[in-house]
C-alpha cells in the first residue's frame, strides 16, 4: 500500500470517528434529523473535496465542526425569513426511547434549546456537549475566547430561566451558601 493511500485510510478512520458527534452537533443545532443529516453529508463532501486544506496534526474533529457550523450559519441566514417548521419532528424520528421521565426531560430541554439565539446555542453545545475547550470553540466559531465564554454564560442563564431551574428548592444560590446550610444541617442533626 502506498504511503499516500495509507494516510487517506487513516484520515477516513479519524473522520468516521468524528461523525457521531458531528451529527449530534448538527441535530442539536437545527432540531431536525433530516435537515441535520443533509448538513452532515454536505459537510463531509466539502471536507473530502478540500482535504488538501486540512493541516495534518491539527484537530480533524474541530475542522469538520467548523465546516458544518459555517454551512449551518449560511443556510440559517438564507432561511431566516422562512417559518421554521421543526416542532416535534425530532422526537418522532427517534427509534428508541429511554425511560419516560428522561424522555420528557430531554424533549423539554430540546425545546428550550431552540429558544436560544443560534450563536449562544452553538457555543453551549460545543463547550458543554461536544467537549471542545473554549479556545477550540472560539476557533470553530471564528470569534474571541471571551465572546464564547459570555455566550455560554448567557445560554446557561437563559436555559435556567426557561426551565425554571433557578427557582427549584434543590438548587442553592451558590456553593458557599450551600456549604453553610449543609454544615448547619449536619450540626443540628448530630
Amino acid at each position: 500500500m502506498s504511503p499516500h493511500r495509507n494516510m487517506r485510510g487513516n484520515m477516513r478512520e479519524v473522520m468516521l470517528a468524528a461523525v457521531p458527534s458531528l451529527r449530534a452537533f448538527a441535530i442539536s443545532l437545527c432540531g431536525n434529523v433530516d435537515r441535520a443529516d443533509d448538513l452532515v453529508q454536505e459537510a463531509l463532501l466539502r471536507a473530502l473535496a478540500n482535504l488538501d486544506s486540512f493541516e495534518p496534526g491539527t484537530n480533524m474533529s474541530a475542522w469538520l465542526f467548523t465546516i458544518l457550523r459555517n454551512l449551518f450559519r449560511s443556510e440559517y441566514r438564507k432561511r431566516r425569513r422562512e417559518v421554521e417548521d421543526i416542532d416535534g419532528s425530532y422526537a418522532e424520528q427517534l427509534t428508541f426511547s429511554p425511560e419516560q421521565s428522561t424522555r420528557l426531560e430531554i424533549n423539554e430541554f430540546r425545546e428550550a434549546l431552540k429558544a436560544l439565539p443560534p450563536e449562544q446555542r452553538e457555543a453551549l453545545i460545543l463547550v458543554g456537549a461536544s467537549g471542545f475547550s473554549y479556545e477550540e470553540a472560539a476557533r470553530i466559531c471564528g470569534c474571541a475566547v471571551g465572546t464564547i465564554k459570555s455566550r455560554v454564560n448567557r445560554a446557561r442563564g437563559r436555559l435556567a430561566e426557561i426551565l425554571s431551574i433557578e427557582g427549584a428548592s434543590d438548587f442553592g444560590p451558590d456553593r458557599e451558601t450551600r456549604a453553610v446550610v449543609n454544615s448547619d444541617l449536619l450540626t443540628r442533626r448530630s
Binding site: 473530502l48 430531554i106 453545545i125 458543554g128 442563564g157
Partner: protein, 74 residues
C-alpha cells in the same frame, strides 16, 4: 440618583418575585444540571453511531477506484 427607568422586561421579572441573579452568578448546581441534560440529549444521538450513508461517503477515501488514487500503479 438613579434616573434610568427600568425596562418593561426588568419590571416583569421583578414582578415574578424570583431572585433574579446576574448570569455570571449562576450556581454550580444549575450549571451542572444544564450540562447533564445537554449531554443526555447529545449522547443519545452520538450512541446511534455512523449511519450507512456517511460511512459510504467516507469509504471513497481509501478506495483504489477513487479518483485521487487513479494515477498510482495498481
Amino acid at each position: 440618583m438613579n434616573i434610568r427607568k427600568p425596562s418593561k422586561q426588568r419590571q416583569s421579572l421583578k414582578l415574578q418575585g424570583s431572585e433574579m441573579k446576574p448570569v455570571a452568578k449562576l450556581g454550580t448546581d444549575i450549571k451542572a444540571k444544564i450540562g447533564q441534560q445537554l449531554r443526555l440529549m447529545y449522547d443519545e444521538i452520538v450512541e446511534q453511531g455512523v449511519p450507512e450513508r456517511f460511512a459510504k461517503i467516507l469509504r471513497g477515501l481509501d478506495d483504489p477506484s477513487n479518483e485521487s488514487s487513479k494515477n498510482e500503479p495498481a
